[in-house]
Symmetry: C5
Subunit: 90 residues, 5 copies
């Protein structure tokens, strides 16, 4: 899983019918210090995440498990709102 | 999911029989500001996307879900036409 | 899917029994202008591709679908011979 | 599989219900000499790994197999505590 | 599939029970000329590969197919010992 920050939303009227009603959030991957890394991706939300929140998200073919519908064509899903990251002092 | 722009088409007469009739579109990945990033890929279309349109696409083993046929060897599929991306001001 | 050029063959006598008889082709990924990008990979062929041909190939866990055998450990498969790529003038 | 070092923990109260009770560990990928490479990821633990330990972890859609629950949206899982890496002298 | 060279072994006493008895080999990815590229990974062996041998390996969720056990959390598996790579002269 990766850590990301929700930075926006995507609107798509014409879409795969399995995605109707899905909340599509622009998610900026972060490193563990909270700095942006790589380009943002679009993830489906099922935990009620909002813009500005720091989240945990999955990528790939496990993403449909978060949607609780079989055979949904999504490859990224938000699975948690992060409260705290505790890093060991090196 | 990633955002991309349809920039062309691929024609392949000899192909896996599960791909017969599939529309194969050259898709340029974009960042959230609409700039090209990375190399284009080829995605199967099921939402009626056309050249010049900005789309949402999935990669990997969830792509066959968009085709609604089991066991189709496709690893990228267009799942929506994007109307709008709203980004939070940083 | 990605575009590639067949540049060689791999011979492996000792191999997973599900791969016996499989044609293993060295495939150089290309960008849409036909230039080599990244390192070559090895893909299984099921469409009769030969050295020098430009092909469409899939990666990941959809590759076994091209082989039409379940549970075959292959992660790249050639699914078409490309006749033509038409790119929109920017 | 990759080698990593556990460097922290992630706490997420609001999360996918399949993740309730899951131990989420920040894992720094290492090269075979033990140097950090790439950015840390978050992996679910099922072997009792602790901060500071060197582990073996899997990525992608095989990660749920480690959790022994079907359809869990996790894409990285710790599958072993490494005792020793023996490298051949070049 | 990718080409690699076996350069070592990994020992992990505490591990996922599905991995008990698995041979875990440190595998250095090679380009088609035999030069090292990227960082080594750890792959499970089922074809009797040994240190120093050049192998073909798969990555991702097809790796369990090589192990012939369902639901094993492995994401890389050696599927052949390479005898020869024949490259077309450019």
């Amino acid at each position: 899983m990766l850590v990301g920050k929700i930075i926006g939303t995507v609107t798509a009227t014409r879409k795969d019918e399995a995605l109707v009603g899905a909340k599509l959030l622009v998610t900026q991957p972060l490193d563990m210090e909270g700095n942006a890394k790589d380009h943002p991706i679009v993830a489906v939300d099922t935990v009620g995440a909002g813009v500005g929140e720091t989240v945990l998200y999955v990528s790939g073919s496990v993403a449909p498990f978060a949607v609780r519908k079989k055979d949904v064509p999504v490859d990224a899903a938000i699975v948690g709102i992060i409260d705290r990251i505790d890093l060991q002092k090196p």
